[in-house]
Every structure is written in C-alpha cells, then in structure tokens.
Amino acid sequence: MALLSNAAVLLGKEVRTEFRSRELLSTTMVFVLIVVVVFSFTFDPTSTESRRFGPGLLWMAFLFAASLMLQPCFLREQVNDTLGALRLAVEDPFAVFLAKIAANTVFLLFTELVMLPVFAALFNVSFGSQLPGVLLTFLLGSLGISIVGTALAAISAQARMRELLLPLLLLPLLTPILVVSTEVTIRLMQPEPYLEWKGIGLMAAFDAVFLTVLWLFGEYLLEE
C-alpha cells in the first residue's frame, strides 16, 4: 500500500509541475503535429495509401515525441538533487519509477489522443467504429514506450553523453512493441477493421516483462 500511495503522491507532483510549465506537452504536440502535417503533404492521402503508410508514420511520430518527453524526466530531478530527497523519502524506490511511468504514459496518451483527429482528417481515415480498439492499442503501446523509456532515462541521466545515449538505447529496445503496435493499428484501419488480439497480447506481455524487470532491478538504476 505504501508503494501505491507514494506513487500517487509522486504522480500528483509530476502532473502539477507539467501543467504548470507545459514544457513536455507543448513540445511533443508541436513535434507530432509537424510530422503528421509534413507527411500528409508528402503522400497522396488517398485511403489506400493512408492505410498502408499511416500507422507506421503515426507510431514513428509517437516514438520521437516520446524520446523528447522521456529525456527530461530524470534530468529534472538532478537539478537540485531532488532524486536524492525522493530516495530518502520513499519506502520503495520502485514508487519513483511507477509514478514516472504513469506520468509519461498519461502525457504521451494525451498527445496521441489530441493528434488522432488531426491524423484522421489529414490522412482521410476513420477510426469511429474501432475507437475502443485504437484506445487500447495506444494505451498498451504508450505504456511499453514509457516503461522502457523511463528505465533508460534513469540510466542515461547519469551518463556523460546523455542526450545521445537515450535515443540510441531506446530505438532497438522498442522495436518489438513498435512493430506490433503498427501491425495492430494497420488492422484497425482496414476497410473491414478488426482488433488483432494476438498483437494486443504481445503488447501486454512486453509491458509486463519490462515492468517486472524494472521492479526487480530499478533500485540500482537510481544509485549514484
């Protein structure tokens, strides 16, 4: 219970500071918007082409947006050594990770949901009938990106070449979930859309495996 209550307090702080500064959300939203708009002019947005390229472009935009969002999540804790204060205050250091993962997922999901209508309009696709499936795919995909990204952000924050290290580590590790998320999204954009449960299962398994690894070894990532 202490773990969850600590995580809830930490999440409240993350949300409060973000909505006060709006640094991450504004940056990532502008970034995703630019990517989606630029690609909508590059490809002829007929429905057939959109269904082939759209999901890949969408997840690529989300990935780069996430890497922008993930980088500062531990760097900000180093400015005044607040990470040290957190480690002294929480009973279980996993609470710090849990809160950061939840915050990153919420921010990423928020960006995705704001961008979804823009993408649908520019690429001439409709998700209407499959909205619950799209939401589930976005949730599991964003959660996977956040779990791996938060862990790697903790590692890279202590490294010398931190700005380079995170994207370098992030891309290979996220390839499996990005491929599955794209495949599941493609099925949802077909003329006869359906939710591919096998893909959803794979995404959930990816999230569970990395969350467990973080729960077991996360404490070492926070050490100086």
Binding site: A2, T17, L88, E224
Partner: protein
C-alpha cells in the same frame, strides 16, 4: 518546532572505501558514531566530507566496506534527515507544496498542520505560496532544512547547513540543532571553520584524503580540529 525525534540511531562505518575514477573520496574508513552523538566533520575541500555523509544517508553505495545502523534493526530504512549542497527541493513548486509533497511521501501525520508549523519556524509563512525559483539562496536553504526535519528524523546529516543563511537564520539553525541534540537525535554535520553551530558538537573529526586524521571529544584539542589550515 519539529516533533521530538524517534529512537536515536548510531552509524558504524567499517573499512569503507569509495572511489570516483582514480580518486579516493573515502579510503579504508572505520568510524563509529554512537546514538545521540553530535559530530562535526571538518576538512579541506575534497577531503571526503560530502561523500561520508552521502554514504551514511545510503545515497551512495560504498565500493567496499559496510555501513550499519545500530538501534534501528526494527526498521528497513532509518529515518534520515539530509541537507546537502543542493537544496533537494523543487524550484517549480511553492514552499508549501514542496513541504506538503515530502510530508505525504514520508507519511507524516496531519501534514498540513505540521508544514504550517515548520513554515512559521523558518519564517517563510508569508511566502508559502511563492514558487521556490523566486527565493534567495538563504530562503531555499531554510526550506531545505525544514524538509530535512519533516519526519522527526533519528539521524540528521547536514552538509554545511549554514550555506547562504544570514545571521538570524544561522542563529535559528543553531537553536534547532541544539534542541535536536538535547532531545537525543544523532547529528553528523560537515562544517567549515569554527562557528556557533560547531560548538554544539560533542565530538569533532577531521578528514584528509578520505581518512580520519583527528578525532576528539570536547576539550583542549577540540578547537585544533577547526583551526587547521583549510578547515
């Protein structure tokens, strides 16, 4: 005034070594701090004072050797109040939000009341709704000290706590430390030069290149610890 500390705890460093690259921050350090002691640590810059305090706070894992806490076997993590070189508080939160946030994490009973009391103690009641980034260094340090005292710690680790404090705030800090010392809290603080705060100590230690080179109780030798060049 913060509540009385919990049961005081002692710290035992046994053959502790910590290196940053080729540089030894602590070298084969064996040192026992008894529960309830108030120890001042002196030493030149780079002598290992900060590393010693961070190892004691479990913020830095020693390369070799062990750190054990006596009298705290019933708790997994002893209650430690730590004030470091950095303020360890959030610039984008207000003074009250910072203290409430940490109070909730620490499971402090009636956090609102406790925080209001602490803000009054550190004379920041009228600035409680201001963001910390608008505070001076001394005001931030007062918030940092209030944060360290939030959970009525059994062990206080202060790394040059007087940094940035004006005369009045320095006197307040000395008074708080005196009360905590008298109530049995174990205090380990690094200081530069002899001061009112240093005179609270019941024991003084001098570090050089990560090793203890002088260790004395109150008495004739006490002043020599702080009068050494660079201390």
């Amino acid at each position: 005034m913060p509540a009385a500390p919990g049961r005081p705890i002692g710290v035992q460093f046994d053959q502790v070594e910590k290196r940053y690259g080729a540089v030894y921050a602590l070298r084969n350090l064996t040192l026992g701090i008894a529960a309830g002691e108030c120890v001042a640590i002196a030493g030149r810059n780079g002598s290992g004072k900060t590393t010693l305090l961070r190892v004691a706070a479990q913020l830095v894992r020693p390369g070799t050797g062990t750190v054990a806490y006596s009298g705290a076997s019933e708790v997994r993590r002893p209650k430690i109040g730590f004030v470091g070189h950095a303020t360890m508080v959030y610039d984008e939160l207000t003074a009250e939000e910072n203290l409430l946030f940490f109070a909730r994490l620490l499971g402090v009973a009636s956090p609102g009341k406790h925080v209001a009391e602490l803000l009054r103690e550190v004379a920041l009641e009228d600035r409680k709704d201001s963001l910390l980034r608008t505070f001076s260094r001394g005001m931030r340090q007062r918030v940092a000290i209030a944060r360290a005292l939030l959970a009525s710690p059994s062990l206080l680790l202060f790394d040059e706590p007087g940094t940035g404090l004006d005369k009045e705030s320095g006197a307040w800090l000395t008074e708080q430390l005196r009360r905590l010392r008298d109530s049995g809290c174990t205090i380990l603080m690094s200081l530069h030069g002899e001061s009112e705060t240093a005179r609270l100590a019941t024991r003084a230690i001098r570090l050089e290149t990560g090793s203890v080179v002088a260790d004395t109780r109150r008495g004739a030798l006490f002043q020599t610890i702080f009068s050494a060049p660079g201390c």
